[in-house]
């Protein structure tokens, strides 16, 4: 019985983790500032598209089809790119980095008020965009 439960947990883990992990880390720098650090299975994002109310989703995506197509193509190309720093902005008060790292699209912002780190698996992001594109009505 325990074996079956663990096997089920294993399979569930495989399904949930197969698209990687979305990481969000926000740390406010002022005294008493909040710190939010989330690890979310990217699969949940793809499931979210399918679970959203279809009519409302189609309404929101009515004019987005061409933008989604561009985003999908860009993400598909980014998947092929080796790890690289794409954008970096440096000033005495702010440091922004946008890069691809280990198959994820990573954004780091460090300014006077907070540090923000977001990492999204590119493949999962592309799948979400593809799903949204499939739901978007042709304009």
């Amino acid at each position: 019985m325990i074996g079956k439960i663990l096997l089920g947990m294993t399979l569930a883990s495989v399904v949930v983790m197969k698209d990687g992990i979305i990481e969000v880390n926000v740390q406010e720098k002022h005294d008493g500032g909040s710190h939010v650090h989330l690890y979310v299975p990217a699969t949940l994002a793809t499931w979210g598209v399918h679970m959203a109310p279809e009519e409302r989703l189609r309404e929101h995506l009515r004019h987005s089809r061409e933008h989604l197509a561009v985003a999908r193509i860009a993400l598909h190309e980014l998947e092929k790119v080796p790890d690289a720093l794409l954008v970096e902005v440096e000033s005495p008060t702010e440091h922004v980095r946008v890069e691809t790292r280990h198959g994820s699209f990573v954004v780091d912002v460090d300014d006077a008020g907070e540090t923000v780190h977001v990492a999204v698996p590119i493949r999962a992001a592309r799948k979400v965009i593809e799903d949204l594109e499939a739901q978007a009505p042709a304009s």
Partner: protein, 222 residues
Amino acid sequence: MPASQTRRTILLAALALAATALLLAVLLRAAPVAHAAQSAAKPEASASAERWLHVAVTCKNEEGERVRLNIPISLARTVLGSIQHGKLNHGIVHIDNAHVDDIDFRAILKAVKTSQDGEYVTVEGRDANVQVRKQGGMLLIHVVDKSGRHIHVDRNKPAVQENVDVKVPLEVADALFSGAADELNVGAALDVLAQHDRLELVTVQDSENNVRIWLDTKTTQD
């Protein structure tokens, strides 16, 4: 429960636990490791296959702000080719006829291509000097803006000048003007540009900023 069945259950549980740990470890580690291994295994191949467009902007003020962009040409090319919006149509930019009616760029380009290397245009004015020359298949444009209108200068100081250097391979310019008269084929120009290993394209230097745009096979800037 017989002892043998208990042992079997414990064995199954242990196996499942080990499988869970193994799979989680693989799932959490495999993708980055595989990606890193792929990157590490083929540095030469990726470096030789891909061209990167780099933009560096450095402000000379006290803050010393810096902006760095590194864009793979293939990404720029593919994304540009996918956009159909306004005057941009799958890598082709439609330009207003009014601005090009009086100038036949193609004829000028053809004439320059078939001519010998040399300085073709020299304009020396009060506000700006402009030089256009052809050298080794490259069109070199050098502009010195002496007007100082683009920046706020101290009246007690001499006018600050801005230097702009543009280097364009002639075949890139050729590809750019390969479409209709009112079109710029940016996609084709990028395709030709990507055949170069290293190329300084634009440098702008003035009292406030240094701007450099170049192409090479590195993913990072020097």
